[in-house]
Symmetry: C3
Subunit: 356 residues, 3 copies
């Protein structure tokens, strides 16, 4: 059966049947760098219970979150110079998962070790590798996200825990037509405009790109507060879906001042990073940042833009978790597609193709 | 096996085995009219998840609480002039469950519709029909409850959610002998008096009626506050059980001033309406109102009577939910009958006879 | 297969397989005497749901916590002179579980009774007997704990509910090496000292005893506040494990003033009683008291010592419940033993031997 011929409803229902599987042989976003300071972080990813910690040399390690002695989560322990010490009987493990001290006992047993995970910290993000049996070691480097290192941008973010499977967030972010209904009180504005903006969708076997242009439109308040626009603006929304994350680049230039197809266009930019990482088959982590380049009062304006972003993502969370609860209540009954589902359905097909 | 020969304990245990069934081809109380103003109401009834809403013409509709597009509960949407709009992508459904607008899409798909339920608003109550496969459409009108439209009475009420099967509330209301123990601190009074009041029970295949008379007794404080009694009173308690609800009519006249068998007797009256509607096999809704005709300071006195009623029903809820939890803890072990169980057991037999 | 040859990890995993079984034909600690005043007490022990109550003659009874009429927990009822009265319809049960009154009904049905449990109140503790089919009646008296009746000691205690199986508390109390890690902020002190103190373990088929001596050490603040030590002290920790409870006797004398092996040694004593009673296979009750003999300002000092004890036991609870949750998360994967597990493992073998 060719996946290309399955309807979205079939894809959604199929996912449920295969729900113990996730795409493998890739990097997932595990944490924001800012989360790892002097305390261990417990996080379950792809059903693996993991403790993350940063030692004094700045290195981040990820171990199975279970002491091999009496099973206490290591995340309840304390970070020391060269490892993490269990909070029950004090066994000390280094970043390679090897126990290097059993207090009060001369010899450390050979079997005293815990599993480790491959970690890469890059662009203020912590990535974690999940391979299949043949590729436990990473076969590539994580995706680059240089925006976080661009001095022209200010950014901040947060990590949301979702009581919903990760693909429902993909659906949401790939279809901005919901802005007028879900985000009525934040960034929504005119629902009809969002619904009818001309939209181009392109995709290959690894990504989906959605581009929407709203030329010669009135700038919303956030935009005029952040940037010295002269009058009407040419706006864009560009969504790039990859399996591990989405990049959503929105912004505007003075109307007619630049081509919206110019990748180096000037103006006001909001660049969202959306790491979407399964926790279990039915829950996920949403690790987001928002980067922006305000001209007026940059620190203060960026703070406001990020706060507005947070409120918007809070609204999405309410809707998506209610949606998932209702899907369960109605036992995953078949869904009906409409025009807005083109891009989300392509993303579902990409993930489906990774699960075979 | 004749149902008439089953003990109450057998009936209770039998219900458990058949617990996926409810009486059908009848109206249940779905809501108080006062619950439906400008917001949708989500309520599960007989395992159906339903959204109720009142459009600007005053009409109440009931739809399956699930958008056919991406399964969001419609109860999270907004009411418009001619229907309810989904809060995710804005699909608009009319009261017949038909989608009449898909924002941004010219044509509404033929399959874009959700199930509807037959509703009747009458006497300030919203009734909902549940038929079997052959009687999806109502074959009768709902029971009348004209007390709510009687200008001599003031009423108010509330809807309680119970973590207990609906028949346990029937048991409770049909046996007022519990007043002296459960309602020790509200309306209880002398336990022995309640236990030994002469009680008549009559029933047919659709109803149970219990009549208790307490002639020449001292009026309780609520009564003297509400009505200019001259001294001792003749009191009555009349309980009418029907499958969808109970009517409990209590009150008193000056001792010897009127016959307690006169349906048009004067005096002070408290008329309770008790809609008891299954949510699931193990939970239910208790939709109650209390109507009264105080002579002194009517608004204020009615408010006090209703508040007293609420406290009393709160006490019942604690007991009934604890009872059900314990029934589960003890795995529905057989129960022992005593004299007070006559009327409750007849009600159980009526419901049992509807389930065959 | 000889139990003596099983590793601790095997024992732990074996317990899980046999988890519906507890040692029988013995007394368990059911309550502190101080818990039973004028209200009934509901407590589940070894999966039995029980109501305990003390009648006006001071006698404590224990009945199945379910009225035989309509299954309400009797613990929601009220204590009367000669029994407990159900809070629903007022059935009155005496301490033998026999219904002695059905309000409003002349004759009490022969079958109106509930199960009873054998109780013994002794040394300010309430003990309950659990036998097998052949020994429903106690075949011995409960263990003595005369410390509670010793006028030289002041004591108080509490009952903690644990979301963890009871044997994890045995493990914790038999291995005081955790003091330096779990109790870092209370009684911990120098972790290495606790880990390396010389420890003697002895055991037979019914008990495990652990003795640790710390001669010529600096007295901790609690000790100097409570007792007029002259300088350095000789300290001891003696742990006695029995299946129903542990006794932990810690204390100190002035260095060199007495033999630590003298059972009548003088000095400052803290005598902990630790009743550990299964609630279910996965939860338990921890009924503890602390008795002490301070010389300075005894009432006030004892209060402080007991408060410090409480904080310490709170810390243990956090660790043990987290440990158990993680054991479940990791599906009871095999554990690795270290030197501190000698005594806990012997206790596990004793219980294992009782389950055959």
């Amino acid at each position: 059966m060719s996946v290309q011929h399955m309807s979205a409803a079939e894809l959604i229902n199929t996912d449920v049947e295969k729900k113990s599987l996730f795409p493998l042989n890739m990097w997932y976003v595990a944490a924001l760098s800012s989360e790892l300071k002097d305390k261990p972080l417990a996080r379950t990813i792809l059903n693996h219970q993991i403790v993350f910690f940063r030692t004094s040399d700045g290195e981040v390690s990820a171990l199975e979150d279970r002491c091999c002695h009496r099973a206490l989560p290591l995340s309840l322990g304390t970070i020391e110079n060269n490892g993490i010490r269990c909070g029950y009987h004090g066994l000390l493990f280094n970043g390679d998962g090897k126990c290097i001290e059993v207090p009060g006992q001369g010899k450390v047993p050979r079997k005293a070790l815990v599993s480790t995970y491959s970690i890469c910290e890059q662009n203020h993000l912590i990535w974690i590798w999940f391979g299949d049996e043949n590729t436990q070691e990473p076969t590539c480097t994580p995706p680059e996200y240089p925006v976080h290192n661009n001095p022209e941008y200010l950014f901040d973010g947060d990590v949301y825990h979702y009581e919903a499977p990760y693909q429902l967030i993909h659906d949401n972010l790939l279809d901005l037509s919901h802005l007028g209904y879900v985000h009525l009180y934040t960034i929504g504005g005119n629902a009809k405009l969002h619904m009818t903006a001309e939209t181009k969708v392109e995709s290959d076997e690894k990504m989906v790109r959605v581009v929407r242009h709203m030329p010669d439109s009135v700038p919303p308040p956030t935009y005029t507060a952040a940037y010295p626009f002269k009058g009407k603006i040419d706006r864009w929304q560009e969504i790039l879906f990859k399996i591990s994350h989405l990049e959503i680049w929105t912004g505007a230039v003075d109307a007619g001042s630049d081509s919206l197809d110019n990748p180096n266009r000037d103006g006001f930019h909001m660049k969202g990073f959306h790491g979407i990482t399964p926790e279990t088959e039915t829950t996920c982590h949403y690790l987001w940042t928002m980067s922006t380049n305000p001209k007026h009062d940059p620190e203060e304006t960026a703070k406001k833009v990020i706060e507005q972003t947070r409120l918007t993502f809070d609204e999405d969370k309410v809707v998506i978790e209610a949606q998932y609860k209702n899907m369960q209540n109605f036992k995953n009954r078949t869904m009906l597609d409409i025009h807005v589902d083109v891009a989300p359905n392509r993303a579902r097909r990409i993930i489906e193709s990774q699960l075979t």
